[in-house]
């Protein structure tokens, strides 16, 4: 499994088995097995292929957004407005549908609105130089607020059948794979390749580890961050298209609170909130862990808010455990 060493670092200690065992992804794989085993024991309905396929509906849209969010957090930025972008993009899709727009418009208007919202975030952060957490708290209110202004307490429900079919039918009938899940898998592979196998991906880590040094190395830090903000608008737009097709309605509170669930996926996936580290396989594993825990617990009728307690504890415990473990093993503390 070890990649060929191109340049040996003279003063670095040789890799040890414990290094590999303590890798975040290894821990996540173990956790995933525990979740699957636990669910299988608790409920006999869990390992049903159609049940599992339906379970993917509940996390695929969030997971698509989490991929873009991961890249953004690796470069020390964050976007809290993603759920609000979903609301605005879903509204645009709804208005287009009420105006009788053809299918291709319904499928592209969400991502297009997403790109506009993302570019606005990116402009405020990289163009004016404002902290992204504050900017996106503001745009989160602004985008969802605009959706609320237009919709009021109304609901848009009349979507054409050929559009809702995308959210409610399988792309592949055996094994049953919904469109959103397949799109997530394809994007995950794409993002994995870009982040881990291209120069662009290495630049993201360089920016996250030391933006100043990256700038002086000739990396266009602000331009890349802007592109990532646009991407973090595009993918919520796409998620909105899929979500709206699946539930067949648009309300102002659509996807409310998703930003925190999406960030939880990314952090549990091992992406450091301080930037500069994290992997796509880690995020994908975290998506499955969170999705299957939620699905398993809802199978045994645990209320949603109790599930969120469990997921919140899991988030803190999963970050705290390695820190405690490293301290117990007497190794120098790694900055989280």
């Amino acid at each position: 499994m070890t990649p060929p060493v191109r340049q040996a670092i003279a003063d670095a200690a040789p890799p040890r088995v414990s290094d590999w065992l303590l890798r975040w992804e290894t821990i996540l794989v173990l956790l995933l097995f525990v979740v699957i085993a636990g669910n299988t024991i608790i409920s006999s309905y869990f390992l049903d292929i159609y049940n599992l396929s339906d379970a993917t509906y509940n996390f695929s849209e969030k997971a698509i957004v989490a991929l873009a969010m991961a890249l953004l957090i690796i470069t020390r930025e964050i976007d809290l407005s993603v759920a609000a972008i979903i609301a605005l993009a879903s509204l645009a899709t709804g208005l287009a549908s009420e105006a009788g727009a053809p299918l291709w418009v319904l499928l592209t208007i969400g991502p297009a609105i997403g790109i506009v919202c993302g570019a606005f975030n990116g402009f405020l952060v990289t163009g004016i130089g404002l902290p992204s957490i504050v900017v996106t708290i503001g745009t989160m209110s602004l985008y969802r607020g605009l959706a609320q202004v237009v919709l009021g307490d109304q609901v848009i429900k009349n979507y054409p059948k050929d559009y809702t079919a995308i959210g409610q039918s399988y792309l592949v009938s055996w094994p049953p794979l919904p469109y959103s899940f397949v799109i997530f898998l394809v994007l995950a592979v794409l993002f994995g390749i870009v982040l881990h196998k291209t120069a662009f991906g290495r630049k993201l880590y360089a920016i996250g580890n030391n933006p100043t040094a990256a700038k002086f190395s000739g990396i266009p830090v602000e331009r890349i961050r802007f592109q990532l903000f646009v991407l973090t608008g595009l993918l919520p737009g796409l998620a909105a298209t899929l979500l709206t097709a699946r539930i067949g309605s648009t309300r102002p509170n659509i996807a409310l609170g998703w930003e925190l669930e999406i960030i939880t996926m990314v952090i549990l996936g091992g992406v450091s909130i301080a930037g500069g580290s994290g992997t796509i396989p880690g995020v994908v594993l975290a998506v499955f862990i969170l999705g299957l825990i939620t699905f398993g617990l809802s199978l045994i009728n645990v209320p949603g808010i109790v599930i969120s307690v469990i997921l919140g504890c899991l988030l803190i415990a999963s970050i705290a455990a390695p820190i405690l473990l490293r301290r117990a093993m007497g190794r120098p503390k790694r900055q989280a």
Partner: protein, 330 residues
């Protein structure tokens, strides 16, 4: 530096006055004394939460769990009132504050002792504290009729026309101001936020201060939990849901730098008042409440752009030629 800060607060105060005058010109009822008192009473809880949040942000932290802690403390306090409606009111307030302190200590301990980033810890406890309301209360809500009169009448008492809510807020603001300006520990909060490395060389302990501010933030959330529930007469799992972002917005409008080390009591109070005026003005202006969120979003963005000078993350130019070029450009 303080001249600039005073200037910024004066500007914010002027904007608020201009806004109130403009609303008053449209709807004279808005600037009547009873209505102004109502707006101030209404904004008191937000102001207290914003002061707590400001102290946390000063240390380069953030507390996303504040609304959840408020809701949990309020729920527990209300259920004490439900089963023991005849206790003195201080018992209900004390219990809410005690619950808040415990929740704040959990945040502070995880952040200071384990070194987990504040945004991660409080994102987790945001979900956990709110969920605990359902685990604790079994998903039931406590209604006004079940809480008893002692519990509910306290925030409605008035002194010189203002409710106890307002006077408590004034007391909290005064205490925070004294703490931040007159005590060594309070100055330490600015030091660790402004330059953590220098603060450490001066012998200021960041972990100790972190535990302190998150605990204070918890205590204030707990107090506000009692006030919120007793004022609105209902306790259930969704109260103040999402309010943490309004609180942070009040800080940002008030000129608190999210990068730490910059922020004042006066600015934060004005930031809260700004949002309070907007929320209360919309119905007077006959604007549908659906506009509220979009307007506060636009206001937050305008405020950060205006405050951009304090917030700007400049990259220090180290090459002599680059510095000369930048100097020439000026």
């Amino acid at each position: 530096m303080s001249a600039i800060l005073k200037h910024r607060e004066a500007a914010l105060a002027a904007i608020i006055l201009a806004m109130v005058a403009a609303i008053g010109a449209y709807a004279p009822a808005f600037i009547s004394i009873p209505n102004i008192v109502r707006v101030l009473n209404d904004t008191s809880i937000l102001a207290m939460l914003a002061l707590a949040q400001m102290m946390v942000i000063l240390t380069r932290g953030i507390d996303l769990s504040t609304a959840s802690a408020l809701a949990l403390a309020g729920m527990i306090s209300a259920s004490l009132a439900q089963y023991h409606p005849d206790l003195p009111v201080i018992a209900y307030i004390g219990l809410a504050i005690a619950v808040g302190i415990l929740l704040g200590l959990i945040n502070g301990g995880l952040i200071a002792i384990l070194g987990i980033p504040p945004i991660v810890v409080t994102l987790g406890t945001l979900a956990v504290y709110r969920g605990m309301i359902v685990v604790y209360g079994g998903g039931n809500q406590v209604n006004a009729s079940e809480m008893g009169d002692t519990f509910q009448s306290f925030p409605k008492l008035t002194l010189f026309g203002f409710s106890t809510l307002f006077w408590i807020m004034l007391a909290v603001a005064l205490a925070v101001w004294l703490f931040l300006t007159m005590t060594r520990t309070g100055r330490g909060l600015y030091a660790v936020g402004g330059n953590p490395v220098a603060a450490r060389y001066c012998g200021i302990s960041l972990p100790r201060l972190e535990i302190l501010v998150y605990t204070i933030a918890g205590a204030i959330s707990g107090l506000c939990g009692y006030l919120w529930v007793s004022r609105y007469g209902v306790a259930y799992s969704e109260i103040a849901s999402g309010y943490e972002l309004t609180v942070i917005a009040a800080c940002v409008i008030g000129g608190v730098s999210i990068a730490g080390g910059v922020g004042t009591v006066a600015g934060t109070l004005l930031g809260a008042l700004f949002l309070g005026v907007i929320v209360n003005a919309l119905p007077v202006m006959q604007v549908t409440p659906f506009w509220q969120m979009a307007i506060s979003g636009a206001v937050i963005l305008a405020a950060v752009v205006v405050n951009a000078r304090a917030e700007k993350r400049g990259v220090k130019l180290i090459l002599p030629e680059a510095r000369r070029a930048a100097g020439a450009a000026k």
